[in-house]
Symmetry: D2
Subunit: 411 residues, 4 copies
């Protein structure tokens, strides 16, 4: 039976086909809300064109997941119904994101929540879940694929991980809208070259160059955008404002009705208009952010370690810089930005190898290639851990001296 | 003397060089505000990626104006100082835009204001003007060029009109961010081919193809985006909400301090949160807009006339459709979208010809080529006048019948 | 059963999937020969990068025909086996082209041959046909689709005509390699929107903009490239050289073994190295072409008529210009370049309308839209008939005066 | 004084401005000849679209060199006249290339010649030099800059080396025409960010990302194109054919008149048509190349060493494989492809560092950054030395066994 559909125009994928049951989800206010959550929080203060949102990205992930599904279906690994599930999982994988996406994530993490938890809640218990059920889809199954909990590992990996629709769409999209990186991720080649080995997602060897180029682009995006000094400055300020207003907004006491209101501009303008004295400091951060009066970076170090400093070490560092500089602790911001050289698997474990399939003379052989043997990728590892100290302009000199004296020898 | 500058990354122009005095203007909250005014108001409900703002566009116009200035400087028509003025005029040409840009314009027009009036006010009387003066620039001169009032016509025409930096940037940018039109306006070729004849801006004949292609792209953008049925539906709703809340926000009683607050999301969320019973209807429009419950188009006609229906004719039409359909007038929305086949000159007069310069065997001859002789452009004229009737879903059938019976014969 | 394939990298389509039986055809010397026949004969003397050949184009047509076939297969108009036939027809549609493609065509036309005749001969009687048969394909069927002779009209129309794979690939490819036109033909949108009505190829109405843009790009390509004054000058010279050496090379006494040798550079270097006095004049044209000493255009007129001047009228014109100018007839070259505003149907008849399909609320209606009602397309008609007079530099002045005096009033 | 110019359309640079004296050089048959020498010799047998030639590339290098010159002129390092010299050096830097470019180079190297030697000869002693002199340019100066012999090192480095116009154009162009690599080298950013330190070319630190991305693209191009297994197979065959016919064509007994004839297709078709028994083997290679019957790669190893195996070691290897496999030496082809991780300096020495300039708070500091500290670049080093053994299909098995047994342990 022919399903009804519409085509949505998108600069990354030309047009994205959307079936009627998907359109019902998209047109729901819970999903429309994603139009008001920027994909890259504070990056547009540095890259002015980066105004794109989680909304378009979600459509894009659905689109790429669909292409990946079709390729695996043609190779006999998937049923045609599974493509529908992959599409829905892709569409909904970010539905639990709050204002300022990953910054909101950092705030709720401190109370052991994640956007995945909120996402599950929304899919299972809101109108979104009802639409799924009414149209004959198993909402639990969609949730499992969207958040990496299915037993068929390769289904999860189509949504998140080193070969995922999520990553391919955000790299393409963030590159396109920031203008920072022109590399066109060859996502068509990669999705066409997906394969499955022992229930895990694999890649045809002939697409290894494309994978390597994608990993290099990812690396460049981290350096040029995600971990950019000024981008992080804006985000440190937003993060502080969010932390200081958690009680006010009830970020972590999840309630769908309230949650749906929480968009980037709503949080900012509520803070700015608030008269509450408790929110004074949060308000100041929001105003400064809005007027682009950013914190200054007084110290930067690329660490060779693969792990985050951790909260206790960070707190310690803040205290000692404060003591040495005689600047109040609340004026010292320690930012530790870390990412593994290739994305985490859906299980949140580090990916140690990629499975390559060679098809020669009719026979197919699989090889687990350690990441360390892919030259460009291995070169990158260890270079994505950046420690920075920020402060307001007025404390610049003092904090700089203290930070250098304390951190001088750190590697 | 070398001037200090920064480079801002932009997907359209790769990077945009910004000199220090320009950065001071850009970093002022009055200018930062443009980051929160979308270039295409309600178009992102149809083209989800169209989240770009007047901020990036203003930088882009400065950039192209600068290129045009350099080309004319090399040909001996401009001094190097004039390039600085052109840059500033380009940067500030949209500074008077209010929330939802051209929709706001439609509201204030009813009180005989325009964004140019507000723009002049801002440049001459706010901190923006002070920055100009302090850095040795004549703010009156910048205002004249920005808004088409200089005697040297070609300076104005670099900012607005059929060969302008404004149009080239918005066509490129709107095409890029909507994804609707892939034609790359060959702006480098056009700016390199600018010339001057009797104080008017002219074009080298060898660039006529590029001009024709640009006019075709403009036409496609009007059909596919600016006058798109669903885009206009969202905008009719926004327009109604703005009109109904003019008193509340004081849109037309211009006051810089208040004006600076007025951004797209501020107006929307203020309306949505408002408890005022006077704003009930405006609030409903804002909410429906936000949740993408749009008005339905029940009648559409491409008119061959070159002029707008006018307010009295529009009102009349609404009344007669209301009578015939027995649906309240307030539920009937008459939308008349008109644009000339090539953009208005800075003087707001219709452009009737384009001046072409032929350089052959060392001698240069000018020719005024009537628009009607450029095949593609002449073909377009008269095709950009669209009359549409919108109403809410519930009145759809009744209004459709009435509109067809009344407008059946209209051409 | 999974068919074996390779992927060939192509800048236009990223990569082109080629199945093993197709690869056997491609790797045959008869097909490899296409690598040495430039797509645009003499255009690279004006657009230096236009070195692309019929070889890549043929792969591209196969690729787009395959996409069109898949779309119609999903909509239930085609069987999966028909896609294979469309691919082969696309791959082989240009196999009969001789050196300098369409110029060779002009030479053999005088003896009532066409590249289609040679193409049929090659597919039916050479190793190419054997490969088809051995792999289970009906070579007669492939020939019919490739050259517009099948009864199911829409199958022919996928290969040639106003919605064809041939046109989409050459516009994209010629634009990309010349650098002349940046419009990206939205071929994916168009192939996805193909439909069938009464055995004819139709287009979903929602893709009408894409069709219009494509027609505009085609028009620009004719003006900027195919009918460019200097491009035609080079081609007039090549044409003359080919005519003068027909006996030598036996162009029109078709013999596969000899035909396979005839490539652009082979013909040129054979002429240049030839000592034969009979070929003196042809040799001179070849040498001048190679060293870019081109004929000069002394007269150009855009005619409003839709038809070619015809051979007798052309000859007459040459004679009268010769008499008036006292320059030998052999030194006067009359070039009449004509193309209809939209491409001919596979039957070689003029296309008078395009069939549009509207799918609304579940029902589908077809409409035959006259070309004259599509504004941009109708505007173009009549503008693609250009008459030019060329001569050598030394006769320039005399021929110019004579041509102007004789043709002054012609429209 | 305004200089007369034409604009040549080019897909990489939109359009390339060419001044009249440059056009005279370009229109000379010695330069026109470059249209018939493919940029990438045999790569089009693997990447069908790679038909581009040294002609377009030479125009492109002139264009980028001009941009680099302008940037340094604005920063006060160059006079405006120097830009003219840089343009001419860029235009002529490849004028000494013979058929199949770098393969021809490998043949003449054995007699201690290089294309630079031939280039000097042509510029100083042919009509090219006369045109330079007549137009007031010092041909010796142009030669020095074109081939790296000027004392002002940074002038040479604009033409060749790690920041050169040559490399930027060929990476962009080869990527565009092969379709293999989509990374757009950000050449505008890099040329705008050039600086000079102690007479050496330097780069503003803010453009380091762009440099790194360019080096990564270069690496990908080597892996995907220049050193591609099948590309090299075609080239090994061409190389063999060239070596075997050196006496016939007199490649190394340089004579301008003869040299000008030597183009890719001329050499191939002369060989194929030759009846000489001495050329039998060369003829067979030419025919097989033309019909794409390529040598097979039976062994491949990526070496960690930075140096080429050298001729004696290569000969030795061939002998021992021949002995072990009992296949004639003439049937065993040892191909050693090596390139440094960043391009050689104009002096042909390895580049060990790149000079970075930081401009902060008005003061400028230079730093020599060792290549080994740029993560992606250092990762690449040592990975561009590939040893391969090729043979004809019929000897495949025997040679494979012998090669593996002999080279098994080689690193």
């Amino acid at each position: 039976m022919k399903k009804n559909y519409s085509d949505i125009v998108d600069p990354i994928h030309d047009f994205i086909r959307v079936y009627d049951h998907e359109l019902k989800i998209i047109d729901n206010p819970i999903f429309q809300r994603l139009r008001r959550i920027r994909q890259l929080s504070g990056a547009h203060l540095t890259y002015p064109a980066a105004q794109h949102t989680r909304f378009e990205h979600s459509l894009g992930v659905m689109h790429i997941a669909s292409q990946a599904g079709k390729a695996l279906n043609e190779k006999g690994f998937l049923k045609s119904d599974d493509i529908d599930l992959l599409r829905l999982a892709g569409l909904l994988h970010d539905i639990g994101h709050g204002p300022f996406s990953h910054l909101f994530e950092e705030v709720i993490q401190q109370k052991k929540f994640s956007h995945e938890d909120f996402g599950k809640e929304i899919i299972l218990k809101s109108e979104i879940g009802d639409i799924l059920s009414k149209n004959g889809y198993d909402k639990k199954l969609v949730t499992k694929i969207a958040f990496g909990d299915l037993k068929l590992q390769y289904m999860n990996e189509i949504i998140s991980g080193a070969l995922s629709a999520d990553m391919m769409d955000y790299l393409l999209r963030d590159g396109y809208f920031t203008g920072a990186e022109h590399a066109q991720i060859d996502h068509k080649r990669i999705t066409q070259s997906l394969d499955v080995h022992k229930k895990k997602l694999a890649l045809e060897r002939s697409a290894l160059y494309s994978f390597e180029s994608m990993m290099h682009s990812r690396y460049q995006m981290f350096k040029a955008v995600y971990f950019h000094k000024t981008v992080r400055s804006a985000e440190v300020m937003l993060l502080e404002a969010l932390r200081l207003s958690d009680d006010e907004f009830g970020f972590t006491s999840f309630n769908i009705k309230e949650f749906v209101k929480l968009t980037d501009e709503y949080v900012l303008s509520t803070l700015i208009l608030s008269k509450s004295s408790k929110l004074k400091r949060a308000r100041q951060f929001a105003e400064d952010y809005q007027n682009r009066k950013l914190l200054k970076c007084v110290f930067e170090r690329i660490l060779t370690s693969r792990t985050n400093l951790g909260k206790s070490r960070t707190d310690e560092l803040r205290t000692s810089i404060s003591k040495k500089s005689k600047v109040d602790e609340s004026e010292i911001f320690v930012d530790s930005s870390v990412t593994p050289s290739i994305p985490l698997a859906p299980s949140k474990n580090e990916s140690k190898h990629i499975i390559l399939i060679s098809n020669e003379n009719g026979k197919s052989t699989a090889q687990e290639m350690p990441i360390s043997q892919i030259p460009v990728v291995s070169a990158i590892s260890g270079f994505m851990n950046i420690l920075r100290i920020y402060t307001h302009q007025k404390n610049r000199k003092k904090v700089e001296i203290a930070a250098k004296s304390i951190l001088g020898g750190l590697k």
